[in-house]
Symmetry: C2
Subunit: 499 residues, 2 copies
Amino acid sequence: MDINTAKQALRELQLKMYAYNYASAIVYLDAATVAPKNTSEGRGVAMSVLSGETHKLFCNDEVGELLTFLTEHKDELSDIERRETEVLKRSYDRQTKIPLDVVMEYSKLGVEADDAWHRAKETSDFELFRPYLEKIVEYQKMFAGYYDPTKKPYDALLDTYERGMNTEILDRYFDKVRSAIVPLLAATQAAPEIDDSFLYKYYPVEKQKEFNDRLMEVMGIDRGYCTIGETEHPFTTGTDNRHARITTHYYPEAPSFAMYSTIHEGGHALYELGGDDKYRYTCLAGGVSMGVHESQSRFYENIVGRSEGFTKFIFPKFKEMFPEQLEGVTADMFYHAVNKAQPSLIRTEADELTYSLHIMIRYELEKRIIAGELAVKDIPGEWNRMYKEYLGIDVPSDKEGCLQDSHWSGGSFGYFPSYSLGSAYGAQMLAKMRETVDVDGALAKGDIAPITAWLRERIHRHASFLEPADVVRNACEAEFDPTFYTDYLTKKFTKLYNL
Amino acid sequence: MDINTAKQALRELQLKMYAYNYASAIVYLDAATVAPKNTSEGRGVAMSVLSGETHKLFCNDEVGELLTFLTEHKDELSDIERRETEVLKRSYDRQTKIPLDVVMEYSKLGVEADDAWHRAKETSDFELFRPYLEKIVEYQKMFAGYYDPTKKPYDALLDTYERGMNTEILDRYFDKVRSAIVPLLAATQAAPEIDDSFLYKYYPVEKQKEFNDRLMEVMGIDRGYCTIGETEHPFTTGTDNRHARITTHYYPEAPSFAMYSTIHEGGHALYELGGDDKYRYTCLAGGVSMGVHESQSRFYENIVGRSEGFTKFIFPKFKEMFPEQLEGVTADMFYHAVNKAQPSLIRTEADELTYSLHIMIRYELEKRIIAGELAVKDIPGEWNRMYKEYLGIDVPSDKEGCLQDSHWSGGSFGYFPSYSLGSAYGAQMLAKMRETVDVDGALAKGDIAPITAWLRERIHRHASFLEPADVVRNACEAEFDPTFYTDYLTKKFTKLYNL
């Protein structure tokens, strides 16, 4: 093999992977949005064949040899090719280390476990799910050993979601988060309760849609490259830096749900769309990790969307569309209502202040489960104990407790921390951004452009070229430091609640 | 190779083709319905890679040997496997006979020709398109020679769209059609004009959608397997007998367009959805030819949807939803209005009576072009002459004349006749159906079930197992005979216009 042939093969491989990923993204989106509801069987057959083909395309000896060759000749590669090789090699090693029969067994277990989890959640019966979760945990420990036998198993898993992340960093992080948020939350709950009842009146869906279109416009999302659809659970998908799709969910009696999910998903979309053209059709296109992705989505959702400036800018537009529902409501009342802090059972409905506590509990449990220090059968008890300890609430059923999320049934151990890290990355970015951008001034004018320009320059345009920790370091010109996050929350909620 | 291995390979090949076709159908549908408008470039790259992969999957020596082996051992195959082998072998031969460099050149020409056609149509300037069309015609003649050098070139092309069809049959067919329709049309135009002005008032799109939902229900289309979307040009796509999608277009001031396009596409969908499960995930799933497909869509659109019984059944429901627009209008007026015959310029907007004349003109031109008897430069003149001769109208511009359809720019010579054959097949099916089904009684009650049951039993369930001519023979227990079609039109329009 000569180096130019190898470079050409690298390009072709990535182009093919782009094409297969394109097809699977669109089929997934179609299924979630508009496909007729009884068509999952035929789609499952097609997708299983295509994912098998995608796997064969990548996980074969020829690709292995190519990546080894390129790694050995990395001095002859451009920066981009070198990074592509690194990313692909890591993914190749991870995917090929596990024997094929184990992959097949695990994939079968995954289908059964998903089904069992759905039934268990419906009937709030953890025992139905327990035997499957026990097997999944055993597989996850085994996988961790394949990924990196030199690491603690949970560290090896964390690394697959947020490269470079480990329990040492996260223990310190969550200690800090816990010790800041728990007393802050207690103080807010002792303060007079914020009235948000006007956000639970009837807001016709058609008008909500119009308002959400306006939000996308304010965010500077070009609809020629990104449309908005509807699904049960909002998400963002994209195929390249010129094509993203977001979805939302309109609740007729809770307009702030669609509003903030649109802004959140819009943040993901801006990250995807902000990637430099030079990464298009390569494995470096798109966001680098879940943590960095959440840093962007939660930046727009909370730091922008729930800021005093932005809420007071957007409120008159909101009221103009819903004058009856908002009669007597002021911009300040609106700002307070969308920031109301309240311990709650369900992670996805949590407010900005309590969100990271939900994640912290999951992190602590996962860490102990994978370390073999907590038996699967003891999860419900521990879950409920920690919700009582940190959020001060009783969990009435496993359905609203440890069965609420799909992550464990899908084997995604190590994924949860990314959600919280994203918020913390975002707060540190905000502090750095304030050095050169008049953030509050921009928000008060509803002028998101200078904010997005900063994020684009420092984060978005790099797509997956930099490792997650390097993205943070590059953007903030400092190591990741959770103090920015706890300071941000303390300052915001102290003022909001007059503490 | 042993026979069981070969049979297994046959199944696997078809399953893979199903999966690739699934992906490409959904990406196409997504692009036509909801994709952001500026995303065609990235989609083009992905689709070009995937179609290349699909081509490689099928057009390789291994598949060639497999199909040859299976053909040689056809006595050891089941009926279905034998038919699968036959269909795949024919497709394989057709696709592999043309040298790859010719395919590549032609594909490049196709992109340029499509672009030139769009510009030519926009500016109504045939000269812009002429050089491309000349090249396309030369390629088509060359392809015909590759397909079957023993046939007249146009016959070889016709055979690719409607297996077994040729100019001998079609000359007789269109002679018959012409000699029946031309005088009948003249008579209708001499009769008092039908008033259809009430169909061109303002009908709000949201209410039209509700009405179209109702139409789908009346047609017995299960929305769990078939949804309806919106596109500029309505179409139907499907992936297997449990999954179809139709689209329509709502014009606020012409509700009958969406109404009849929904019924037309619904007919295509019922054909796709009516296939037997035993053909699922094989090359025999789905309709066998364009002609048979149009026989079903036009059966529902015209024979059902424009019948006296059905229009009078549906009118009260229509009027209930649009009482103001239809004030003073009776069911009989509605029946007449949706059947108004009128020579017109645009094929896709033609009524039931004149439609086949539009096709006949295209057929006559194509036949002469491919035979080398008509130069491309002379198409506009001949087109206009024939529209004057047969439809009695002057063509004011090539945009509304020979540039109106996309077929020739796409190289689809031999495709047009299928549209008209479909109507003729349908009329013959109707005559046979009347022997055992009280068609008029069912239509008057809006009870489509016995009609669909007959079509499903005789046509739909066979999917692509039978050749087009065998579908007609099997359904009608007779050879194809266009007299049924001309009799049907004569009877219907004589009564409608009191001739």
